[in-house]
């Protein structure tokens, strides 16, 4: 691989391809291919989207969503045994008694904690548990923005129609209404807590459009939107001294005799010891599943995104929704090898960057909804054979990023995308001067544990917020609605859980639902070797793994 000659960070043959892109650029500026018709969109999804390719999914054999189709990798983990046997756990000693237990400290979990506290639950009555650190979450990496219909020429109703359309009209309409209605106050809340959104000279929010949105309503904090939002909320959280645990993933929920969720079983990642939490209300905010690498795709997600919340909630009887669809972000980095799969925000395209094939043609409207855009890139690479093949065997198309400075003036890219410019620079590539290579990457869990407008699930005592929930986005999420989902439903569940907890006493604790689940697995003939949740992916070298023995 290092015998290749490199020019400005790219192997020579890729550099030659860039020259073709530069040649066609003048006639491409400001001229976009036509948007697809609804039929064309349907056709390309059927042809190229990983969700539609045969062999990737199967019906579930156990539980409340039995017979629902989900990706194989997910079915493997749902049809799997607990990490520990209920017989090995003593529930006698309760380590933490709390009013509200929040599982997961991303944007949703942290918002929930703040609103629960604002609703009158004292800090000591809240416990936030994290598998890794507080803030290790997909939220931290969200780049593009947060949607909210606050412009004079926009309205929550227009936003509502966008969300329903983007979700192929499978979303829960009452939940979507709450999402779009609460959006402006979520932005206002963040501003009052000190979050800094991009503004123009008059002090108005700079708002951009996104794939599938009819108006410019994306509020951004340069290309660190999620990081800015989460670090502000986390700073306020820490100032209130709300109890928080780190490196204690939840490996099972606990239930009482009526099946209500009454707490959780934590397992210490560093010490191996378990802890018992009793809670009057539990909010599940565990995020996504990118590290499952569904269909072998790379991912934008953080290290701990392994679908834990869906699995433990399912064992407790929670109903799932739309787990048959997976969102692949159209533009994950495809070169160099070290950053394969990392997010290159949609905002690049809303700022003018165009997907371009090896012939220098803009082959797709840059802002189709994500599933359509991703399918178009896959088609271009693998059916039309117009992609570029990297030295590591990845295929991709160019994203013509130099267009951003051309359209918005010198320095525009550095101003809007400082993080990304820095990332490519670290690997020797100047994305202001040259296009970058992209390919779809596993990005978002569209569905999840079914929610209602207040974040309630079908299991009493269990609330849900953020990426782990299902019904907000239907079968496809639009850009800027994920951080919005976290903020709106994080806040709502904080309020709803507080109200619920006030009416409750602590319940009895049992793993009875797990025992029942084990019986279901046995009856379905599922082998005992499969265990879940996996907690962390494993990237250790094959040679070392072949000689690894656990002796201590």
């Amino acid at each position: 691989m290092s015998d290749l000659k490199f020019i400005d960070g790219y192997p020579e043959y890729m550099y030659d391809s860039i020259k073709i892109v530069e040649k066609t650029r003048p006639k491409r500026i400001g001229k976009l291919p036509a948007q697809m018709t609804p039929q064309e969109r349907q056709d390309i999804l059927q042809l190229c989207h990983p969700d539609y390719a045969p062999g990737g999914k199967r019906p579930l054999r156990v539980g409340i969503n039995r017979d629902d189709i989900v990706p194989n990798r997910l079915a493997d983990l749902i049809e799997a045994y607990p990490l520990v046997s209920p017989d090995d756990i003593s529930l006698q000693r309760v380590d933490y008694e709390t009013d509200i237990l929040i599982i997961g400290g991303g944007l949703a979990g942290t918002s929930a904690a703040l609103l629960a506290n604002d609703s009158g639950i004292p800090a000591e009555g809240i416990l936030l548990v994290n598998k890794l650190r507080h803030g290790d979450a997909n939220s931290m990496m969200a780049e593009g923005g947060t949607q909210a219909a606050d412009s004079p020429n926009d309205s929550p109703v227009i936003h509502y129609i966008d969300v329903m359309g983007g979700g192929h009209f499978t979303n829960k309409s009452d939940v979507v209404r709450v999402l779009v209605n609460d959006a402006p106050s979520a932005i206002q809340w963040l501003c009052n807590l000190g979050a800094i959104f991009d503004r123009d000279e008059e002090g108005n929010f700079i708002e951009l459009t996104g794939g599938g949105t009819a108006r410019k309503r994306m509020h951004a904090c340069r290309d660190y939107t999620g990081m800015e939002e989460l670090r502000v909320l986390r700073d306020d959280f820490r100032s209130r001294n709300i109890p928080v645990l780190e490196f204690y993933p939840v490996i099972e929920l606990l239930t009482d005799d009526s099946g209500r969720v009454s707490g959780a079983l934590l397992w210490g990642l560093e010490t191996g010891e378990y802890k018992i939490v009793r809670a009057k209300a539990t909010i599940l905010a565990t995020g996504g599943f990118g590290r499952l690498h569904i269909r072998g795709f790379p991912t934008t997600n953080h290290y701990g995104a392994t679908c834990d919340g869906v699995i433990i909630a399912y064992r407790a009887g929670a109903r799932l929704r739309d787990m048959d669809t997976v969102q692949y972000h159209p533009t994950g980095a495809a070169y160099p090898q070290q950053i394969i799969g990392l997010l290159l925000t949609e905002k690049l395209r809303t700022s003018g960057a165009q997907p371009v094939n090896a012939r220098g043609d803009a082959f797709v409207f840059p802002l189709e909804p994500r599933d359509v855009e991703a399918s178009a890139i896959i088609r271009e690479c693998y059916i039309n054979e117009n992609g570029i093949v990297t030295p590591s065997g990845m295929r991709g198309v160019w994203l013509d990023t130099p267009l951003i400075d051309i359209l918005h003036g010198k320095g525009a890219t550095e101003r809007s995308f400082p993080g990304m410019v820095r990332m490519f620079k670290r690997f020797g590539i100047d994305m202001v001067k040259y296009p970058v290579l992209v390919f779809p990457t596993l990005h978002y869990q569209n569905g999840g544990v079914e929610t209602d407008p207040d974040g309630k699930t079908n299991v009493e005592g269990l609330f849900v917020a953020g990426e782990v929930s299902g019904g907000v986005h239907g079968k496809n999420r639009l850009m800027g609605n994920s951080t919005l989902d976290c903020l709106v439903f994080g806040r709502r569940t904080g309020i709803a859980a507080a109200e619920y907890a006030r009416s409750q006493r602590g319940g009895t604790l049992s793993l009875e639902h797990v025992r029942k689940y084990i019986e279901m697995l046995k009856e379905a003939g599922i082998s005992g070797t499969r265990k879940s949740p996996i907690l962390l992916p494993d990237y250790r070298g094959k040679a070392v793994l072949a000689r690894m023995i656990d002796v201590l």
Binding site: M1, S2, L32, C48, A53, P54, G55, L132, R133, D136, M140, M141, A149, D150, P156, V157, I161, D162, M164, G165, F169, R177, N181, P184, Q188, C191, L193, G194, I196, G203, F205, T209, A214, K216, M227, V232, D235, H293, R295, F297, Q338, I339, I340, Y382, I383, S392, G393, M394, R395, L407, P418, G419, R422, L536, R540, G541, K542, A543, V544, L545
Partner: protein
């Protein structure tokens, strides 16, 4: 179509599973906590350590350069200089001699910004050690995000919140500045306080969102929602298609 999926999966194996040795053509030697490891030349420090058999619990977060979990301090062959990097964003080099700093014991002060006054006293109140800044620039040299750390500390001492916010914006709170500072200042916590104060008091309240929040509270859109939510799906599809055709693009 399934073959395409298999091809894609094969092309991505190096980032979705552990890496095998067979295809590696170029190797380097790195030293993790003093221990020598032979690793593929073309990996990041994080990937190389995983190749060598380390399974991260600490020091691994977003794997994309945003979260500051994988802060790494290292020396290069034949050099006395102490360098810093994010393990997930830095390629290995032959002779790299490294350690990770997954946690920095920097205390964060507790405050309610609603109750604070918008001037320099807020920094002196919560982080009085800021006055000990020697202007030695060690923090700036330690920062893996190219931030002018010393400059924003000096700006904070002068009460220039806007400059603190602008200069510190890309901070991922890895802690390397704080652990290297001879004056024991916790730069990234100070920056967080400065940014929040600027966002709350230094920036004007955005007029459009204030207006819209009030309109929603007054139920301005309730009738429209009732109407749109009562329409059958086929009609909604038509409305959506029309809306998309008339969309704002740039």
């Amino acid at each position: 179509m399934k073959d395409i999926m298999d091809e894609i999966a094969r092309a991505n194996e190096s980032v979705t599973t552990g890496i095998g040795e067979e295809t590696i053509q170029h190797w380097v030697k790195i030293y993790v906590l003093g221990k020598e490891h032979r690793v593929p030349a073309d990996l990041t420090i994080m990937q190389a350590m995983e190749f060598a058999g380390y399974r991260f619990i600490r020091a691994c977060g977003c794997r994309a350069g945003f979260c500051g979990a994988c802060a790494t301090v290292y020396r290069k062959k034949e050099s006395y200089k102490l360098l810093t990097a994010m393990a997930c964003q830095t390629r290995v080099e032959d002779g790299m001699y490294l350690v990770q700093i997954p946690f920095v014991p920097a205390k964060k002060a507790d405050y309610d910004i609603e109750k604070e006054r918008y001037n320099v006293s807020v920094f002196l109140k919560y982080y009085p050690e800021i006055a000990r800044c020697l202007s030695c620039n060690t923090c700036t040299k330690a920062c893996p995000q190219d931030i002018e750390v010393m400059d924003y500390i000096q700006a904070a001492i002068k009460g220039n919140f806007q400059k603190v916010a602008e200069l510190s914006f890309d901070c991922i709170q890895c802690g390397l500045c704080a652990i290297r500072c001879p004056a024991e200042i916790v730069q990234y916590h100070i920056a967080q306080l400065g940014r929040r104060m600027y966002g709350r008091y230094g920036m004007m309240k955005e007029k459009n969102v204030e207006k819209r929040v009030a309109e929603i509270k007054e139920k301005k859109f309730d009738d429209e929602f009732k109407e749109i939510m009562s329409r059958p799906v086929e009609e909604l599809k038509r409305i959506y298609t029309e809306q998309q055709l008339k969309r704002e693009v740039y």
